[in-house]
């Protein structure tokens, strides 16, 4: 005795669970919408802000459409698969809110599309269960699909401006016929192979569909340059042929076909080549051709494990985030946790789709179910893998989720057909002569889903921190607007560069612009330079802060904690004096504490005003005067006979051999770049002509006033941490005994200045490479000076020993006289 009542309790308890699933997805979307509403408050860290409300319309309409659709579904297809409808409902709601979060205007459109699609869905529930009308009129369906697609070859437009013209549109409503064409192709292939079982793989019965599919795929490739749709076509054809024939050979042949069409596409079409190149080498041209993919990876990296939360990230930085890159948006705001949930949903959908195919009661419906499932899942994998740089980027949509009416419509019709096919009371399934293709298809797509989830983990967790520190990560300058950056202070804590304003509007202000080549700038377009670059970790607060605080702030805001102030060794009074005297001259001044290596003055002229970077930034880089270069540390000049004091001190005045000369230069540090927290020029190599920077010279000169010991250079002296107050930043290298202490006196005795406690020496070598004369000036306190030993080194890009002497003497007398 068959128990019918048992079957119906099964159905009704499934329906109850299905209802529960829809409730949970409604709760999820409610929380999403709520989070989206208060996201601005969390970002700006205050309740006084503008909240977002618009997306609630989307949620409301979603609830209405899904509730009615579910009731009708229970009425007309009570025994249909209980899994796939709730999954599709959740995905479509997730998509609507995400689109709304990215571009509210498109969110409204997507909501209206859902309404249209929902009405169509409810209406089509009444279709007869055997779907014979699809099978019988297969050529009509396919031909009409092809015809409409062909129209786009003639009248196609792209609603977003440039790019492939795949849409038909009028009056603000656009439709992409290649989306439903994929569906119609699946229907056609299922019907065709259900009628002719190609067990023998003979050529004749294969001829028509093969020609048709290759023809369509090729013309899409040629006229639309749409690699994604073309590969989906070939994939779907392969799936059907393999299911119908059960021959592995099919897979090999179509793999070759796919390869050939990819290579053809690469060499014939710019769009395809661009995308493949951007895929293979994204890091070569991150601001140009690979901009999209690099930005997509940055978004995924910013999401990390838990995501930034709805409205908490900046997924809008990725171009076309609402359709092609919606997966990276979801990854950024829901993190790896959310992405894996999304992929798991697709995996369950896949499993149910294959099951529906295996349980189908005739061959047509079986092929159709398998075809529809592989269409939806393969397309998802294709675009997700494109977002993750696992495959070249193809402009297909993420079914159910991406923005686009045609995509939503196609996805829901595919869902509807699957529901209709699954709505069979256990009449025994149709026998399967060769079940391997179904298993293979299931395994293949499931493994792909696993691969993309691993790839998401790779970019978001493993490579994430490295990616986020890239200078082309615009999120860094966004967080600079919300988090206070540390100040750069001079020796007595006088501010040089500070951050002003309030959260959301922080602005970097440079109070002493003449120091710009040394302190540098931080700018949202031009990046960072000099100390702003090399001390970024402290100024940004990701070094020196408590690591728990850094972790917590990253979790809450995706931003670093407030930055730390850094104190420099610069003596602002002396610096001002040097800059004043250097006005209108080109060159550099370096003044050091000869014992400790602390840089008291570092002046480079000409310089620029970083406050005006918005206007002048682009012309500065091309300026022939090179104001961006820190001449003191990055300029390299031939020393010429400026080395005379060293030669005397080393006892090499009379025809020194090359080797002894090289040894001297070596200990004077002319072949090593000074090690300090500041970008410096790479040092000359012993085999080349000697060129040194004024800083290198100053450090060597310090040895003459410091008993032959060359000190390590120091500029950034201390950083102010919240726990321990000022923490000293140690020197990065050790002092070196460069010259014998005894012979120094003999050397500097030749350069004494009358009645002054210092010596000086000036020379004007000729710079062959630039065809100009230079002036080197050096001066320092005498050995028996009781106070702090000081040295000054000046380089002028002109012949002007008088000016050099004036600057040097004024700096020394300012600092030596109490």
């Amino acid at each position: 005795m068959v128990n019918t009542s048992n079957r119906s309790t099964l159905t009704s308890s499934n329906n109850k669970l299905q209802y529960r699933l829809l409730q949970v997805s409604a709760i999820f979307l409610f929380l999403y919408a709520l989070a989206l509403t208060i996201a601005p408050a969390a970002r700006e860290r205050t309740w006084q802000t503008e909240y977002l409300w618009g997306h609630w319309i989307g949620l409301l309409l979603w609830v209405v459409v899904i509730t009615i659709a579910f009731n009708q579904l229970q009425k007309y297809l009570p025994d249909s698969d209980p899994f796939i409808f709730p999954i599709a409902a959740l995905l479509s709601g997730w998509g609507i809110l995400t689109v709304w979060r990215l571009v509210p205007a498109f969110g409204l459109r997507q909501t209206l599309w859902l309404l249209v699609v929902g009405i169509l869905f409810i209406f089509c529930l009444r279709l007869p269960g055997n779907l014979n009308f699809l099978r019988r009129y297969k050529y009509i369906w396919l031909a009409s699909g092809l015809l409409v697609t062909m129209l786009t070859f003639l009248f196609g437009v792209n609603p977003m401006g440039g790019g492939p013209r795949l849409w038909l549109g009028c009056c603000g409503i656009y439709f992409q016929p290649s989306e439903p064409l994929k569906l119609l192709l699946v229907i056609y292939l299922a019907a065709y192979f259900a009628d002719r079982i190609p067990l023998k793989l003979s050529i004749l019965p294969m001829f028509i569909p093969t020609m048709l599919v290759t023809g369509v795929a090729l013309s899409i490739l040629i006229f639309q340059q749409d690699l994604g749709t073309a590969s989906i076509f070939i994939f779907l054809y392969t799936v059907h042929l393999y299911m119908a024939s059960g021959r592995k050979r099919v897979l090999i042949i179509s793999l070759v076909g796919l390869g050939i069409s990819a290579i053809l596409g690469y060499f014939l079409f710019d769009v395809v080549r661009l995308r493949v190149d951007a895929w293979l080498n994204p890091w070569i041209d991150p601001s140009g051709r690979s901009y999209q993919i690099v930005q997509s990876l940055l978004a995924i990296a910013n999401g990390g494990l838990f995501g930034r939360g709805p409205g908490g990230g900046s997924p809008g930085l990725v171009p076309v985030a609402i359709s092609d890159f919606i997966y990276s948006s979801i990854s950024e705001e829901f993190g790896l946790v959310g992405s894996i949930a999304l992929l798991a949903l697709l995996g369950i959908f896949l499993a149910r789709g294959i099951r529906i195919a295996l349980h189908a009661t005739d061959r047509f419906r079986r092929y159709l179910a398998a075809g529809l499932t592989s269409f939806l899942i393969a397309q998802s994998i294709l675009i997700i893998a494109g977002n993750l740089r696992a495959l070249p980027l193809t402009g297909v949509t993420l079914p159910f989720v991406s923005y686009g009416g045609s995509s939503l419509l196609t996805s829901f019709i595919a869902l509807l057909l699957l529901l209709i096919i699954s709505n069979e009371i256990d009449i025994e399934p149709f026998p399967i002569p060769k079940p391997q293709p179904y298993f293979f298809l299931g395994y293949f797509l499931a493994i792909e889903l696993m691969v993309v989830s691993l790839a998401t983990g790779w970019w978001s967790v493993w490579r994430g921190p490295e990616l986020l520190s890239r200078t082309d990560n615009a999120r860094r300058s966004i967080s600079d607007r919300y988090v206070k950056r540390g100040s750069i202070l001079a020796r007595q804590d006088q501010p040089i560069t500070i951050t002003e304003g309030s959260s959301g509007n922080y602005i970097r202000t440079y109070l002493y612009p003449e120091l710009s080549p040394i302190t540098g700038y931080t700018h949202n377009i031009y990046g960072q330079a000099a100390l702003e670059f090399s001390l970024d970790d402290y100024l940004r607060g990701i070094q020196g802060n408590n690591s728990a605080l850094i972790w917590w702030d990253h979790l809450l805001y995706g931003q670093p904690p407030p930055g730390l102030d850094v104190r420099l060794s610069i003596n602002l009074e002396l610096q001002r004096q040097a800059d004043e005297l250097m006005t209108d001259h080109k060159g550099a001044v370096v003044m050091l504490n000869a014992a400790s290596g602390e840089i008291l003055v570092m002046s480079s002229h000409p310089n620029y005003d970083p406050n005006l970077l918005d206007e002048t930034g682009s012309s500065l880089a091309q300026d022939a005067e090179r104001p961006l270069i820190n001449r003191a540390a990055q300029g390299l000049y031939p020393p010429g006979d400026a080395l005379k004091p060293f030669l005397i001190a080393a006892g090499l005045t009379e025809n020194p051999t090359k080797d002894t000369q090289l040894n001297l230069y070596q200990v004077l540090g002319f072949y090593t770049s000074p090690d300090l927290r500041l970008p410096v020029a790479p040092a000359a190599h012993p085999t080349e002509d000697l060129r040194i920077s004024p800083l290198q010279m100053a450090l060597a000169v310090a040895a003459l006033s410091n008993e032959g010991i060359r000190p390590p250079a120091r500029l950034a002296m201390a950083v102010k941490t919240p726990q321990q107050g000022w923490v000293i930043l140690p020197a990065l290298s050790d002092p070196v005994q460069a010259l014998p202490a005894e012979s120094i006196a003999e050397s500097i005795n030749q350069f004494l200045v009358s009645n002054q406690p210092y010596w000086e020496y000036a020379s004007s070598p000729w710079d062959d490479s630039e065809n100009r004369s230079l002036t080197w000036y050096m001066a320092g306190t005498l050995i028996d000076w009781q106070g702090t030993p000081l040295v000054v080194t000046i380089l002028l890009e002109e012949h002007n020993t008088n000016l050099a002497r004036e600057i040097g003497q004024s700096l020394l007398s300012m600092s030596l006289q109490p």
Binding site: R20, L31, P82, G309
Partner: protein
């Protein structure tokens, strides 16, 4: 403060997503379980054969198996002691939710309601099978359900022809 509330929302959001997936898995498990219970409760409708012959008194045989072979051989479930009946004469078999009658290449043929059986046929209660001199009347228990099940395919066929 705002960010902490936002964080709580984010956590709830992830939890609700995974609750959804958990319910999906629960449904998956429950579906399989119910399917198993349903299949275990699903019994083959027993078939009763009322055998009339001129030689012997009418007898009734009940079968709970899914296959009943009719013939003269002693291994047959339904033995007919009649020289006009072959050793393995005909078979009644339950599949596709129906009882089917199939002739096993008998010498004198099997007839249902007077018609010779050449291909397997669906039988329902009250059908009369003739093997040799034996008239076998079929009674299938729970036939109401069987009729119900038969209706759908017929409707399907009807639509196919439409």
């Amino acid at each position: 403060m705002t960010a902490v509330i936002f964080l709580i929302l984010r956590i709830l959001l992830s939890i609700s997503l995974y609750v959804f997936i958990l319910v999906l898995f629960y449904l998956l498990w429950k579906d399989n379980r119910q399917q198993g219970i349903w299949l275990s409760k699903r019994k083959i409708p027993s078939i009763s054969l009322t055998i009339q012959t001129s030689d012997a008194p009418t007898r009734v045989q009940h079968f709970n198996s899914e296959e009943v072979t009719i013939g003269r051989d002693s291994t047959c479930e339904c033995r007919l002691d009649d020289e006009n009946v072959s050793n393995h004469h005909a078979r009644l078999k339950y599949h596709h939710t129906q009882w089917w009658l199939e002739d096993l290449g008998s010498t004198n043929g099997t007839f249902i309601n007077g018609q010779p059986v050449s291909t397997p046929l669906v039988v329902i209660s009250e059908d009369e099978i003739r093997c040799g001199k034996n008239i076998i009347t079929i009674t299938i228990s729970g036939d109401t359900f069987n009729n119900l099940m038969v209706k759908d395919p017929i409707k399907d066929i009807g639509e196919n022809n439409a």
